[in-house]
Symmetry: C2
Subunit: 444 residues, 2 copies
């Protein structure tokens, strides 16, 4: 990748395109504008499509009959940078250190989608045209669950008609090991708020008279798991599809050890549901995770209050064949049954996305594995992914096609976390992968 | 109270003398300066005494042999104003609405100590002298547990020698009902931090691999109580002195109903240890209360992280004969035994203060009850107080005297909470009480 392309990627990373924060809607819009201009500069047709919240950017070459049509999907929005004080460098002032680009969005997803764009740019510069009909679809709401993408797909079926979709927004099991992901977990979220007194109370004058919302919330959260990390909500596992033997065998052979998990998390120990390896727990078992908790005084020193309120943010990761609404119904019923005396509880449901599973051992899956082998010079491994790409189910339902997940993120790229980064060499691999993939699909 | 005195009290309330916040040390100092100038303007000798943190202000008339010596104690520091967004008015811009002064510190303790100062000012203006030897002792560290007061008492025994101490920093059971408090609860605090991964993790990519610090912390906190609100720490109640029959009878007759507790807390229900009335739970039973909790993402919307850390702030209210260090030892031992797998736990101990109990049915206690009766025109009731005045034990140990607690705060004055306030009529009662008290002690 030449210097101008590096500089361009750093420009892309400077946009604070945090989709969850209403105060940053203008930054999101500016980032979409930048992306559209980039596509136009390649000679592609490009458009910005407003939605109810953040715009979608599309781009395409001239589509000709008799060729395969490929859609490349990505997103230009990013996660919030909190806790910002734990970043080594400012999250929106990208810097390259030891061959890695540090910035919010470097790996998820700006660095990866940008590699595809540069791949196309290079092919066009060298060959004058692409070997396939190509459509880019880059949205600005992936990190908030893509609420407006399904309606957009419905509305623009013609524009988006394709034979297959390729996405680089998942991970590689290890540096240099080409990885094809054939399934993802879903997600379903809610926020639980526990209210007690009508204002914060003096814990001396009133302590002992009424229930403490933090104590009540803790009791509620604790009731959601047993002591071994298994979710204790009745019916939670009823719809979970069991792992197949070939998957357990393939995964057991991966270059991904318990020591890797320890190093990549920095946790003092691994922990979770008995009877499953760590990789099985993360890729093929559901979770109920607490993403945040707050209540009362959190400043320096002591403040002897009995707080009026406490809240927790919860998301479940779902696996086939769990349904988001059904799981949230179970969790909500559990919480209402368990709500302690002396407080009131409010539940607000958040975003949801379905799990996804395809068969990697046929059709475009085989072509994708060949492209990966060409790019990296070794056979691709087959994995699932613990994260969620809720749009995969929409692609299948609305556009009627499968999606190939050919991600380039490494376990220590810190997606969603402080010091997010992406190796420059993975940008280069992404460019090669794009070129191999389009060639393979054209020839297939 | 004449307008100039009201204006003076509002000036006193404008100082942001928050003792726990290092950034506000200058405001605390300015407030001490203001107080010292006020005493000097009355014709008293006054001094500002620096300590390791916030200064002590003392003032006295000329002490003559053969008279009773009375020490009046108070504090000019205040609690933090968090959560500031829940205040109807800015906490340090005092305003009088419907006969109540709204400001942080209005009731705790600036309004109450200021009434004593005005009482002395009036007596001096009318009589030219006071009927007793008087010493004012006003500190700036009460809200952080008075860490430097005991050393100050040791160092200034001569200056502070007295026969009895009077303090107005407690509550009245109802408007117009004179109240003498003969016991307070102690306090002992700690902060518990649970650490998991070395940084916030993507809850999809890593969820299921490692323990969630919020889940671990919730489990720890939940283990500290049984489902009925009784503290589940082994040995926690071992040293608790049982309530005496006359206390239970006196308290049962107080004009303080369950409906009052509900109204004053705004909670949906009362809740606590079985076998005790609400007033008994608050005045004579210990608690273990959660003052604050935090961890992970607390902003608007969703952030799908598995957080690296969660913490909780805990304070116990103690009763005779519990000892703070011993109780903290028990709680810490419990937490260490209960700490779940997959995380590490850190405990930092906070401030501590002893519980206090005197016999109100003899000596100065009787004189104080007579002053209260004269001030309010009805017999005083005998109560204890759920809050903590850790210096009472120091007064007894170092100065060798009892302390009379003649507080004027009402249950809806919101001490330590948003919209703290103090009725103007209680300022007037405080002035009358000061004059009656000094006269009664002189005559006794």
């Amino acid at each position: 990748m030449s210097d101008p392309h590096i500089e361009e990627l750093l420009d892309f990373l400077r946009f604070k395109s945090v989709s969850t924060d209403p105060a940053r809607a203008d930054e999101v819009k500016s980032c979409a504008d930048w992306l559209c201009r980039k596509f136009l500069s390649l000679g592609l047709t490009a458009e910005i499509h407003p939605t109810a919240r953040h715009p979608v950017v599309t781009a395409r070459n001239e589509h000709r009959p008799g060729r395969r049509t490929v859609l490349i999907y990505g997103h230009y929005d990013v996660q919030p940078e909190d806790p910002v004080e734990e970043w080594t460098r400012p999250p929106f002032e990208p810097e390259i250190v030891d061959g890695r680009i540090y910035a919010r969005g470097a790996t998820d997803n700006k660095g990866q989608i940008f590699a595809h764009i540069v791949g196309v740019e290079q092919t066009l510069a060298e060959a004058g045209e692409l070997p396939v009909n190509l459509t880019f679809l880059i949205e600005g709401e992936e990190e908030i669950g893509s609420p407006n993408l399904a309606p957009f797909l419905e509305e623009h079926r013609d524009l988006l008609t394709c034979d297959v979709i390729a996405v680089s927004d998942t991970g590689m099991v290890a540096p240099g090991v080409p990885t094809m992901t054939y399934g993802t977990r879903g997600v379903a979220g809610m926020e639980v708020t526990v209210d007690g007194p009508s204002s914060d109370l003096h814990s001396g004058i009133f302590g002992g008279a009424v229930a403490n919302p933090i104590a009540a919330l803790s009791r509620l959260l604790t009731s959601l798991h047993d002591g071994d990390g298994r979710v204790a909500v009745e019916g939670f596992y009823d719809e979970v599809a069991p792992l197949r033997d070939w998957e357990r065998e393939e995964w057991a052979a991966l270059p991904l050890t318990e020591a890797d998990w320890l190093r990549n998390t920095g946790a003092p120990a691994l922990f979770g549901e008995a009877g499953y390896s760590t990789v099985e727990r993360v890729w093929a078992r559901p979770t109920l995770e607490f993403n945040g908790i707050g209540g009362g005084f959190q400043g320096v020193g002591t403040k002897t209050v009995l707080p009026r309120r406490a809240f927790a943010k919860i998301t479940c990761r779902l696996v086939p064949d769990q349904k988001a609404d059904a799981v949230l119904d179970l969790v909500e019923r559990h919480l209402r049954q368990q709500c302690p005396a002396g407080v009131t509880m409010t539940i607000e449901r958040g975003h949801a996305g379905a799990a996804y599973l395809m068969d990697p051992r046929e059709g475009f899956g085989i072509a994708a594995q060949q492209s990966l082998e060409k790019t990296f010079g070794r056979k691709a491994v087959l994995t699932r992914e613990g994260g969620t790409l809720p749009i995969l189910e929409s692609f299948r339902e609305i556009l009627g096609v499968d999606t190939l997940l050919l991600g380039l993120a490494l376990p220590d790229c810190h997606a969603h976390a402080p010091d997010e980064n992406f190796p420059v060499e993975n940008v280069l691999a992404g460019i090669r992968l794009n070129r191999a993939l389009l060639a393979e699909f054209a020839a297939d």
